[in-house]
Homo-oligomer: 301 residues x 2
Amino acid sequence: MGKELLRLFQDRKDQVGDFQVVGAMRRNGLSSPIESPPKPRDLKEVLDSLLPDVLIDVSSPNYESGEPSTSAYLEAFKRGIHVITANKAPLALHFVDLMGESLKRNVKLMFQATVMSGVPSINLKRVLPASHFISVEGILNGTSNYILTKMYQGISLRDALRDAQELGYAEPDPKLDLNGFDAAAKITILSNVYLNSGATIKDVTFDGIQDLSLDYLLKCREKGLKPKLVATASRSELKVSVVPLDSSHPLYGIDGVNNGLLLRTDLEDILISGPGAGPRRAAYGVLSDLVLLKDSLPKFS
Amino acid sequence: MGKELLRLFQDRKDQVGDFQVVGAMRRNGLSSPIESPPKPRDLKEVLDSLLPDVLIDVSSPNYESGEPSTSAYLEAFKRGIHVITANKAPLALHFVDLMGESLKRNVKLMFQATVMSGVPSINLKRVLPASHFISVEGILNGTSNYILTKMYQGISLRDALRDAQELGYAEPDPKLDLNGFDAAAKITILSNVYLNSGATIKDVTFDGIQDLSLDYLLKCREKGLKPKLVATASRSELKVSVVPLDSSHPLYGIDGVNNGLLLRTDLEDILISGPGAGPRRAAYGVLSDLVLLKDSLPKFS
């Protein structure tokens, strides 16, 4: 995803504007500073030597501790550095603390890419400034939805998973796509954004598609039902489970690698949907945040 | 709709913030200023005597000339007054001139409520700051979509229209819902917003549902097709017509009074949908603009 991001920044130079990539860091330390000081391996040293305006995190989620990302964000905040992340783990584990710390330091923590990639699931809230949200419901994992769509057409789970991997949709560990954990991380983030839940991923009851049989799918289809991996957050509930939807449900038509998010408000139900997987689309979510950050900071240089 | 707006402002006082209603004007002049000066009938006098920060237009569209709204906006801009409108006609006729004039005077012209009411069709663009839009496609008229949905279930156009009117969905003149004109006005506005088309409603080729027979609907249904009144804007095309959609089309599932907007970008197709009709929902679109306006003007008092 890092490579896709660099490519996209190059393609969209006009929108990226004043921003320049001043360094890229991997697990083993700083890998490409623009100038070449002695290669520091420690993030604090890297931040102090480069002093970027924004830290962008496209590393893989570590759901054990959220590290090293969580500490990296806190170090960035201390230095007045904004953070844009595509990594779900720090937010799924420490949402309230991280948001609180960024507010205290008067810097931004932006994370559109963590849910539905470039489809504005998180950022949509900015244009719904007067809504009272009652619940959010979503199909949030592209890989499992792709697999369910294929199984609904009569293809086995194993074959469908292989397709998804070849298309670059699956997480590094596809187990997290299949067992509902990835969707659980995403609904945790959404419940914090839309419902101020204060929840962490430990509060989510989740199940996945790993044990679904082709037979079950086809029986549902006979009854006019389409099983989907649905994540739900309300004041009383936070869960991920397979739900056989009937055709009147707004999420019924969300097929293939598409994701869908249904926001229920006191006035209306709003659905937003689009493809939610793939490194280039995730990179696009990061780019959106970067442009919004730029526009929110008139004196930014 | 004016009444719904006042009610909503009352309900959401916390979000409306510093704004207060200082006067309401009807065709026959100022009807409810907070204090009671001699009742002026002329808009310029009203603007000069009340000097509001924002002019809100919830009047019915006049597609002949866009008046008196168009002149009212220009007078407001001259005085540094922002405009929020739910009235499609001025924008469908004079989009480029009005936006140009508001930019010149450094005031805002906001119009979320003109398309899909409170569902962020226009304002969604704010959170897609790095997208390259290729085309937009939508089901934009709630009344005709409601009628088509009912006809698809075997109910006659006439009975379905009566239902829609009783539910408060239809325009004052339902002819404009049925013949595609209302959708044409909306796709004109969207094509300006997303494609910088510079178009006016005179550039739209439009047709409606007024002559569709129940027989045609039921024949389509037999073939697995669902006829919808689809508005389309691309670089080469601007039109409204009835299209029999197959179930793989993203707009296929948009039924009843719901509207749906499909934004095709170079990276992904994004669909947003929700109920697009009814005075309270339109009022909510106006309220959204008002809160966004407030937040965009940090020193606003």
